[in-house]
Amino acid sequence: MTKSFFLAGAAALPIALALTAPAEAQIQIAVAGPLTGSNATFGVQMKEGGEQAVADINAKGGVLGKKLVLNEGDDACDPKQAVSVANELADKGVVFVDGHFCSSSSIPASKVYLEQGVLQISPGSTNPAYTDNGGWNTFRVCGRDDQQGQVAGKYIAEHYKGQNIAILHDNSAYGKGLADETRKYMNQDGVKEAIYTAYVPGERDYSALVSRLKAANVSVIYIGGYQTEAGLIIRQAKEQGMNVTLISGDALVTSEFWQITGATGEGTMMTFASDPRKRPAAAAVVKEFEAKKIDPEGYVLYTYAAIQIWAEAATKAGTTDPKKVSAELKAGGPWDSVLGPIGFDAKGDVTKPDYVFYVWHDGSYHEM
């Protein structure tokens, strides 16, 4: 699901955090995200990750012999506020922004950064448009919504070759996009689906569709869609005696799915971002956070990694000039980070998608 939260009524003015004027031996960077508003949890996670990364880098002597200074920008996930925060940060002489969080903030802010020549790495904006329509300055360390399809398509082609596969979607931007990407990558790997069709969302009766799948001897269903319909389809399929595996996207990572399916949801798989805390590269940093009684959950480590990668690229390029660092980020790499090695393609997306499979088992889901 795209994280496009539009927050209305964010009357709070961007909090201009008074910081010392840029000194010669300092490099101004920033973390920008929803520090207030209903997504403030994520903003706080970003702030914690950013502060720790800057502290760690400065402890090792900074970048190119200069210390990093971390600025903060609060966009409250409001696109308008994001633009004014972006202008403010650019005016302060910030060369790199770690942010924003909501795609609906990252995209308008990236236009400001492009004009002002600021490099941007988002830790959490998954909407494809962010980098697709971005300039030289847009990067992200998280996955893209459509990369889920790549992961799912390749997995299905590898594990279910020779079986009858159905691909269904609900005709929504999210669902159809996901289903089409999955189909594309599956077909590329030489596996053809038996059925490709849309269903009508909002209905309750999918028995006709299910019987159709049953008649085609389908044993794997891929659904690009939301939890309610996916839950109803698998429930009705199992009720009609089908022995079938459901595979879907991140919309199923909610307990609502299991409430609808009950035991019939057992073994359902879905793609979702892997838990970075469990990666070996993160072990040392996770310990540091735990010593400070901070749980590096959600986007803490993503924010940390963005600064880490930027620092590495700047060191390698021998300059903090955003354009040169941008070229280095794309050409060099993969960069070592707490998320593991990360490389960027020409658009600024990570080359190795971050999505992994989760599976439903007995009322809860866990990484496969």
Binding site: N171, T197, A198, Y199, V200, G202, E203, R204, D205, S207, A208, L209, S211, R212, K214, A215, N217, T228, G231, L232, R235, E239, Q240, G241, E256, Q259, I260, G262, T264
Partner: protein, 304 residues
């Protein structure tokens, strides 16, 4: 063959639920000539009442399925009937004798009110119910395709038959039914002959709402997921069924429900799943061109 039979079972089940709701539309239309747009929402409220009753009974330790279902049925039908009566009393009776569109607008307002009431009081998320009656009969197997008839589908068919039988008996064999039929033929004349028309109309709403609540319970048990919006989709389909069968005609409502269910199912089965609604409504439009009063509707002779 096996495939067609399975789809026939799917279609009949869906059609019976539509039919049960459609009876409520057709009854009200027959007697006061208005479309009660809030009827789909009474169905939705019936489903919610059933869910509340089932979880309430479970918390009291009543988990024996037949007993719990019987109590739920009585509870949901009774409260929904109260809703039906109140809706008529509050939204329609004051407008009787007003111009034709007034109760129609009032009905749309009532529908929106009920939807929003449930959305606010119960939340907008989907409310699930784990399957209570799992399993079914394996009818036969042909070329690897097993035709299944689930206990739930049998229960839906039986419950619908029983409800319609009781209802038909009520309309054709009781004094209340006679009064209803009289009101249907001529409201003013019935009043002149000493029939309490307000009471008869109120009871019509009560019966329609109770049937909708039964449909709501069946819907909840069969699909296991309800939200405040189910009344809209189901209501539109059931209303269509009533029009297709001939609005005002009771057997027509059931026939229309079955037809809509079967058209949707068979269109999904042999043509395109996503165009099933287009198919169902196109067939409705074509039918109305050739049979303006629907399949079993009587032509209203305007007495001058």
């Amino acid at each position: 063959m096996a495939y067609a039979l399975q789809q026939l079972i799917n279609g009949i089940t869906l059609g019976l639920i539509y039919g049960l709701i459609a009876v409520g539309y057709t009854m009200v239309y027959g007697i006061i000539g208005m479309i009660n747009f809030a009827h789909g929402d009474v169905f939705m409220i019936g489903a919610f009442l059933s869910l509340i009753a089932l979880s309430g009974l479970a918390s009291f330790g009543i988990t024996a399925v037949p007993l719990a279902l019987a109590l739920t049925l009585v509870f949901a039908a009774a409260i929904a009937a109260l809703y039906g009566w109140t809706i008529e009393r509050v939204a329609y009776r004051p407008l009787r004798g007003s111009f034709r569109l007034a109760p129609l607008i009032s009905a749309i307002g009532m529908s929106i009110t009920l939807q929003n009431f449930v959305q606010v009081s119960q939340g907008a998320r989907v409310k699930p119910l784990a399957p209570l009656i799992p399993g079914g009969l394996e009818l036969f197997r042909e070329a690897g395709f097993t035709v299944l008839l689930s206990w739930m589908q049998i229960a839906i068919a039986l419950t619908t038959m029983i409800c319609l039988a009781i209802f038909t008996w009520l309309v054709t064999r009781t004094p209340l039914g006679r009064a209803m039929r009289a009101c249907e033929q001529d409201l003013r004349m019935s009043a002149l002959l000493g029939i309490d028309t307000d009471r008869t109309i109120g009871l019509t709403f009560v019966i329609g709402a109770a049937l909708a609540a039964v449909a709501g319970l069946l819907f909840l048990l069969y699909y296991g997921a309800i939200d405040f919006y189910i009344g809209f989709v189901a209501g539109v389909k059931a209303f269509t069924a009533a029009v297709l069968g001939g609005i005002g005609s009771l057997p027509g409502a059931v026939l229309g429900g079955l037809l809509i269910g079967l058209i949707e199912t068979f269109w999904s089965a042999y043509f395109s799943v996503q165009y099933k609604d287009v198919a169902a409504f196109s067939i409705l439009a074509i039918t109305l061109i050739f049979l303006p009063t629907g399949l079993l509707g009587r032509v209203d002779v305007e007495k001058v």
